[in-house]
């Protein structure tokens, strides 16, 4: 695969949890730009741990993590922030700021990437409309139901045109209608050219065209 087009690259990752038990050993993953990977694994297998590795929140025991050509390393503050600005996250370690309003939560990525205030405003309003969240604009995040929170997180994940989306357990606890809505959004993101990493315990309902489906088994992706 062309290096230039590689969005996510995990090479020979080794990771143990605090108890010393090995979660991954020799795990490899390569994802081209615009590609979608659905990573399936039962609970406790280390999906959220994998997300932590991708975002530089946890240090691997061995191996390298490369996102858009930049190595992710804890302690290397500058590249870490640069990499993180390219990642939109939903669920797992990514949460809404509970005491801020939906509007403020959506503003955060735009502030961080230094967008002009006028652009910020139009962008947030546009996204609120796209996601049919206008009525929740001034609600505090903690007062939203889980489904609404996931919608807001999805909106936050693409508001600053983040090229890589990491979505941990997208359909957990959603009713059928909302699950369909979320799935539809994910398909749209995929079509729009976002690279996506979707982590879930089960395949059911996760039909995204052209997605690579990988299973975590015995510490590697199969």
């Amino acid at each position: 695969m062309d290096k230039q087009n590689t969005a996510v690259e995990l090479v020979d990752i080794k990771l143990s949890n605090d108890a010393g038990a090995c979660l991954f050993e020799g795990l490899n993953l390569s994802l081209a730009q615009g590609e979608t990977a659905i990573i399936i694994g039962p609970t406790g297998v280390g999906k959220t741990s994998l997300v932590e590795l991708l975002c530089g929140c946890r240090r691997q025991d061995a191996g390298t993590v490369i996102i858009f050509g930049q190595p992710v390393k804890i302690g290397n503050g500058h590249t870490l922030t640069a990499v993180r600005r390219k990642i939109g996250g939903v669920g797992g370690i990514f949460k809404l700021i509970s005491y801020q309003t939906v509007y403020e939560n959506l503003l955060a990525p735009l502030i961080i990437c230094g967008e002009r205030p006028s652009v910020q405003k139009t962008r947030v309003n546009q996204v609120l409309m796209d996601f049919r969240l206008q009525s929740k604009k001034c609600d505090k995040a903690r007062e939203l139901s889980r489904g609404q929170q996931i919608l807001v997180m999805l909106a936050r994940a693409i508001i600053a045109d983040q090229p890589l989306l990491i979505i941990d357990e997208p359909l957990a606890g959603l009713d059928a209608a909302m699950a369909g809505e979320v799935l539809e959004l994910l398909r749209r993101f995929s079509v729009a050219g976002h690279t996506m990493v979707i982590l879930s315990t089960g395949r059911t309902g996760l039909e995204i065209p052209n997605a690579k489906v990988l299973y975590i088994k015995d510490g590697i992706l199969q």
Binding site: C55, C57, G77, T81, A82, V83, R84, R85, K86, I87, G89, I93, F94, K95, L96, I97, S98, Y99, Q100, L107, A108, P109, I111, I112, C113, G114, R116, P117, Q120
Partner: protein, 283 residues
């Protein structure tokens, strides 16, 4: 909200979001600064008092009975040229007698044939020469002039005063350091609390790619604001207090305005640094 404005807005949001916490932080810092100001003022007042006392210090120099007046005049002129001498008063035998008479009410020496009182010089010194060592050296130098029968100055008192002054300055320095340390710790504590309250936000902002400095700036502003506001308010209270209450029994000496301004600037810097240290850890 642009990236430049964010820390400022955030800072205001944090302060007004928790007005009670901000008020208690400000109040206790204000009290600490007030303490510092009072200690400083006490030191200045005591110092000024002692310096004023010191500046009245005189050295008296008595001439031998048999010294001719011409030599006395010569010595007088020589001494006047010496380092540190500010002024010289000559007291003749007659002047001494007059002075004693003024003191006692009647001329006690009426019965005497001869006036037994000696001629003397009263020397005053420039302020920066009023150290016990310097005066001791000075005495040593003029002692060697023959014809001078006795030299007197309140040496014991001078030494005691110097020891007192050095103790005052030592204690003030100690107290100043203690109070400033407390201020710094207090600011760090206040900021840590503020940071804890916004921990969730900080963690998510970090995940979204915000830099450490960017996220800690609001808290550094907060620390700076606390320290600056409290120190300025402290001095304002002191000045108002001095204006309201006239102290008849002693004159209170405030530090000069430039020193106060410097002090407030230093306080603000400490606040800024305290904010930095308080915000650093959880990032």
């Amino acid at each position: 909200m642009s990236r430049l404005w964010y820390p400022v807005r955030k800072f205001f949001g944090n302060m007004f979001g928790r007005p009670l916490a901000a008020a208690t932080s400000l109040l206790s810092l204000l009290l600490l600064f007030l303490l510092f100001d009072l200690v400083w003022i006490s030191a200045q007042t005591v110092d000024a008092h002692f310096r004023q006392l010191l500046s009245t210090l005189e050295m008296e120099l008595f001439f031998a009975e048999d010294l001719p007046d011409s030599t006395v005049t010569l010595i007088r002129e020589t001494v006047l040229t010496l380092d540190g001498v500010k002024n010289i008063d000559y007291t003749s035998k007659e002047a001494a007698r007059q002075r004693l008479q003024d003191l006692m009410g009647t001329d006690l020496l009426e019965g005497f044939d001869d006036n037994p009182l000696p001629r003397s010089l009263t020397i005053t010194f420039w302020d920066n020469y009023l150290g016990s060592e310097q005066l001791q050296q000075f005495k040593g130098r003029i002692e060697r002039i023959s014809g001078i029968s006795e030299i007197y100055y309140p040496r014991g008192w001078l030494e005691k005063t110097e020891v007192t002054l050095s103790w005052v300055s030592r204690i003030v320095l100690f107290l100043g350091i203690v109070i400033f340390l407390t201020v710094a710790l207090h600011i760090i504590h206040a900021i840590r609390l503020s940071v804890r309250v916004h921990e969730e936000e900080i963690r998510q902002m970090r995940l979204l790619g915000a830099g450490k400095l960017f996220l800690s700036l609001p808290y550094m502003f907060e620390g700076k604001f606390y320290a600056l506001a409290a120190s300025v308010a402290g001095w304002a209270i002191v000045h108002y207090g001095q204006y309201r209450y006239s102290f008849q029994s002693f004159e209170v000496v405030l530090p000069p305005l430039t020193d106060i301004v410097y002090f407030c600037i230093i306080a603000a810097a400490v606040g800024f640094l305290g904010g930095y240290l308080g915000a650093r850890r959880p990032l």
